[in-house]
């Protein structure tokens, strides 16, 4: 049986960063990727805007990925591509992992695992679109795969449902390649994507954005022929008499991403219902000793730079992992926060700084984020603008706060 110290599952930006950090931390490291090529979803994200935080440059997805892949290869880290992990068993000494590839079934042992399995797109069935099941309904990522990797156009005249960033990027991409994008429909009253994408992807190409409207029905037998859109009320219920039929040959869905945690669940890792990723401490260790999470498997990020950052954190911690008693307290957040990562802090391992990622529940203007220990304010930071699509990052030094097992650590938002 093959033996190693750290196994990283997933060869996207999180996994590459984790493997590099683990190797640098002195661990024998192995990366497993199910696709033939490393780089993950970045391979098909050919637009620019990646790497501003990490490299102070506007790179395209493939350029960003290539930097990490080159560093990974230079470090001489072993990677198994076209290899799929089917099972992980926890043992007293660590983990036994079963994987399959063209050579057959492999068994590998490791002391620590980093789950960098990314996220998956929500599909039509998950947003309850009724009607027949014609061809021509794609998630935005699938459409992106067809156009940017296979060079095939999936639509001539289409409607996009959901204003997430991938939907906006695809509205522009389809338009550039000669398709007509009739409009982007968003059930919520505010757009889901970054403001700059609304501007450079929709506004630049005169593509209309319809808020508080959703697709309520699809038409077509073999191929999609039309969709019905309706106005929705504040409870997301269609308003009677508002529906209209729009002729089109494709419906592109950009209706959200969900962290992929099948392997984590099989290991008994506790998930956070808000992030749908593992509950982690500041080293990004999950509730299961020796299992670490990062990137979009941990929580859905809007910038790859932070995906890489979390990969690096998890990889470093995985290399340093040893079984020891944990003394964890929860980081609680008031309802103004959509979520907060990490969710826990290990008092035996508070480090010098903790990186906290969070999103607001709704658009907030002119507010103060306050960190409280028991009823004492220990940190205050002003934000002029918080928007749910834009993740925030905050560094907090918990080490000097003399926290104890019964300390109550809470994050509050004071809205002026």
């Amino acid at each position: 049986m093959k033996q190693t110290d750290v196994i990283v599952i997933g060869g996207g930006p999180a996994g590459l960063a984790a493997a590099l950090a683990a190797q640098r931390g002195g661990a024998r490291t192995l990366l497993i990727e199910r696709e033939p090529r490393l780089g993950g979803i970045l391979k098909q994200c050919i637009h620019d805007g990646f790497g501003l935080v990490r490299f102070s440059e506007q790179l395209t997805g493939p350029e960003y990925a290539e930097r990490d892949i080159n560093a990974f290869k230079q470090a001489g880290i072993e990677a198994l591509t076209t290899t799929f992990v089917t099972r992980i068993k926890k043992t007293a000494a660590g983990f036994i992992l079963t994987a399959v590839n063209q050579t057959g079934v492999l068994k590998i042992t490791a002391k620590a695992l980093v789950l960098a399995t990314g996220c998956r797109e929500r599909t039509a069935r998950q947003v309850f679109i009724h009607g027949t099941r014609p061809a021509g309904i794609f998630t935005a990522g699938t459409a992106q795969h067809y156009i940017n990797l296979l060079g095939q156009m999936p639509a001539k005249k289409c409607v996009i449902l959901g204003s997430g960033d991938i939907g906006l990027i695809m509205a522009r991409r389809l338009t550039l390649e000669g398709a007509t994008v009739l409009g982007v429909y968003e059930a919520k009253a505010t757009p889901s994507g970054l403001t700059r994408n609304l501007y450079q992807c929709l506004h630049d190409f005169d593509i209309p954005l319809h808020l508080s409207q959703t697709v309520t029905r699809v038409y077509g037998e073999e191929r999609l022929t039309a969709v019905e859109v309706s106005t929705v009320d504040e409870n997301m219920q269609p308003v009677a008499g508002t529906s209209q039929k729009i002729d089109c040959d494709a419906l592109i869905l950009s209706v959200g991403l969900i962290p992929e945690n099948e392997l984590a669940i099989s290991l008994g890792v506790e998930l956070d219902p808000k992030t749908k990723g593992p509950i982690c401490n500041a080293t990004l260790m999950t509730s299961v000793d020796g299992v670490f999470s990062c990137g979009n498997a941990l929580h859905v990020n809007d910038l790859v730079d932070y995906v890489s950052e979390s990969g690096e954190l998890a990889g470093t911690a995985a290399a340093n992992f040893s079984h020891k008693q944990r003394a964890e307290i929860a980081l609680t957040a008031d309802p103004n926060f959509a979520y907060l990562v990490p969710q826990r802090l290990d008092l035996n391992d508070t480090g010098t700084k903790t990186i906290v990622y969070f999103r607001s529940q709704q658009v907030l203007k002119n507010c103060d984020l306050i960190v409280m220990v028991n009823e004492r304010e220990v940190l205050r930071k002003h934000y002029s603008h918080l928007r749910p699509p834009e993740m925030e990052r905050l560094e907090v030094d918990f080490a000097h706060l003399n926290l104890t097992a019964d300390s109550i650590l809470s994050f509050k938002m004071e809205v002026h």
Partner: protein, 119 residues
């Protein structure tokens, strides 16, 4: 008075621009690049064009490319037409030019990934 969104970073600052013939006044930017963007956007708007180009290699039928620097916004579709007429026949590396001086704009179209081929 015109409202613009700065696209240079994820902050996406809302800029208000007033253009009274002689001078452009800009407000709302968090950094000085916002000012530069607002002036460029009002006088000569440009965009980096990212797209793909066809190749003869079945294992990588299209290669991602971009304009080396931003091109005038009103030439985007012209440049798209030029790029879509090209067929890559050799294994290019990331950063190598696919079209030099596209449409006489003095801007190259460069590969943004290294090609993977079985040859």
């Amino acid at each position: 008075m015109k409202a613009l969104i700065c696209i240079l970073c994820p902050n996406g600052c809302t800029l208000s621009v007033s253009d009274d013939q002689s001078e452009i006044a800009v407000a709302g930017q968090k950094c000085k690049r916002g000012l530069e963007f607002a002036i460029a956007e009002t006088t000569n708007p440009t965009r980096t064009l990212c797209t793909t180009v066809k190749t003869i290699f079945p294992e990588m039928p299209v290669l991602p490319v971009r304009s080396a620097t931003a091109i005038p916004k009103d030439r985007i579709f012209d440049v798209m037409t030029a790029i879509n007429q090209v067929m890559v026949t050799e294994a290019l590396g990331c950063g190598m030019p696919v079209i030099t001086d596209v449409l006489g704009l003095d801007i190259d179209i460069i590969a943004t990934a290294s090609m993977i081929t079985n040859q």
